[in-house]
């Protein structure tokens, strides 16, 4: 036997999940969301994918701490952020991003066809991201080459920090930028992840 108060306390988690999905739909319908997110398991770890109604806005590595990343997104974009479990609306866009990333990691996709929201990068960093998107699958450039292409040949260091703060790693391929001597340079997701991405693209 269960006491009345215990019964009043008892909540079915499946029911809460259903309510969460309905909230996602209503929030998207009413245009209430500043951003939405989901996660995806990949060969380089669990990735967080966040999107606004303009497009994918952030991809984050597990090593960045997804909670910290979400807190930062709330500060930058607004706190009305929900995890998407349904595949409608914004959830559908996140689903498409997850599908393309899956295909990429399986070696079946060499370019991403997704609307991107680059609002987390400003000024020169954004210019650099624009150029990074032009570096083809399987090829690499040096930080100096990217600086030159971005119109500021002496800004090699600034290119390095633009790569290090790339809000959309993997999709905007900062992993394709190496030091002039061919060594890896840095990577937000760790050098092992950078090595894995370059190996994946070399093998395809």
């Amino acid at each position: 036997m269960t006491t009345a108060m215990e019964t009043l306390e008892n909540v079915d988690s499946a029911q809460l999940e259903g309510l969460h999905r309905a909230l996602e739909d209503s929030a998207a319908r009413d245009g209430l969301l500043d951003a939405a997110y989901r996660t995806l398991d990949t060969p380089i770890g669990n990735l967080l994918i966040a999107a606004t109604d303009r497009g994918v806005v952030r991809v984050a590595f597990a090593s960045e701490g997804h909670d910290a990343v979400l807190d930062a997104l709330a500060t930058r974009l607004g706190s009305r952020i929900l995890r998407m479990t349904s595949t409608r609306g914004v959830g559908g866009e996140l689903d498409a991003a997850a599908r393309e990333l899956d295909e990429y990691f399986a070696g079946r996709r060499t370019a991403f066809d997704l609307p991107l929201d680059l609002s987390l990068a400003t000024g020169f960093r954004r210019t650099v991201l624009g150029h990074l998107r032009e570096i083809a699958y399987g090829s690499t450039e040096s930080y100096a080459q990217v600086a030159e292409a971005a119109g500021s040949p002496r800004a090699v260091r600034a290119v390095g920090s633009a790569c290090a703060t790339n809000p959309l790693p993997v999709i905007v391929p900062c992993h394709r930028v190496l030091r002039s001597d061919g060594s890896l340079g840095g990577y937000l997701g760790g050098l092992e992840a950078k090595r894995a991405l370059l190996a994946l693209e070399a093998a395809a």
Binding site: M1, T2, T3, A4, M5, E6, T7, L8, E9, V11, Q15, L16, G18, L19, H20, A22, L23, S26, A27, D30, L32, Y37, L70, D71, L73, A74, T75, G78, S79, R80, I81, L82, R83
Partner: protein, 161 residues
């Protein structure tokens, strides 16, 4: 301000308990949905450092009362219906009886139980929501709990149709 998702994660179940005790299991989902949709819209304007749980219980109170009032307006009196046993049986009989008992509590007792014992709201804040003295709310809450104290719901696995 932390992402709203963490608010839903932390307080979703609590708000559901509150809504269900106030409006009953049939309308609880509507009350929950309206509460969180309103909370999501207002969230950016919530003062930093606010008691998020109390804020949500307050919204749940308003939304639940709206639902109760709308239902009582829609209800058409049709006279007394004689009680008779259901021909279909009721797999959830024990629980159904409990919800009937909760619904039959005087409203002030029911709300005081919901907000304090299920919503974690201090009696003083419940008194602000419902009017009256803190002492009267404390009494209403303990009377409500006392009325439910000797009521037991059969466990699922022991239930027979």
């Amino acid at each position: 301000m932390r992402p709203f998702e963490s608010v839903v994660e932390e307080f979703g179940a609590r708000v559901f308990r509150v809504c269900r005790a106030v409006v009953g299991p049939v309308d609880a989902e509507d009350a929950w949905s309206e509460t969180f949709l309103a909370a999501l819209g207002a969230y950016p304007r919530l003062a930093p450092g606010s008691d998020v749980s109390a804020w949500l219980v307050t919204i749940a109170h308003r939304k639940s009362i709206d639902i109760l009032r709308a239902k009582s307006r829609a209800a058409i009196p049709i006279g007394d219906i004689p009680e008779r046993p259901s021909a279909f049986g009721n797999p959830d009989a024990g629980r159904g009886e409990l919800w009937g008992k909760v619904a039959a509590l005087p409203e002030r007792q029911r709300l005081a139980v919901a907000y304090h014992y299920l919503g974690g709201l201090p009696h003083a804040q419940t008194a602000e929501l419902l009017g009256g003295s803190v002492e009267s709310i404390r009494r209403a809450a303990s009377d409500g709990v006392a009325a439910l104290r000797n009521f037991y719901v059969p466990d699922l696995d022991r239930r027979t149709s």
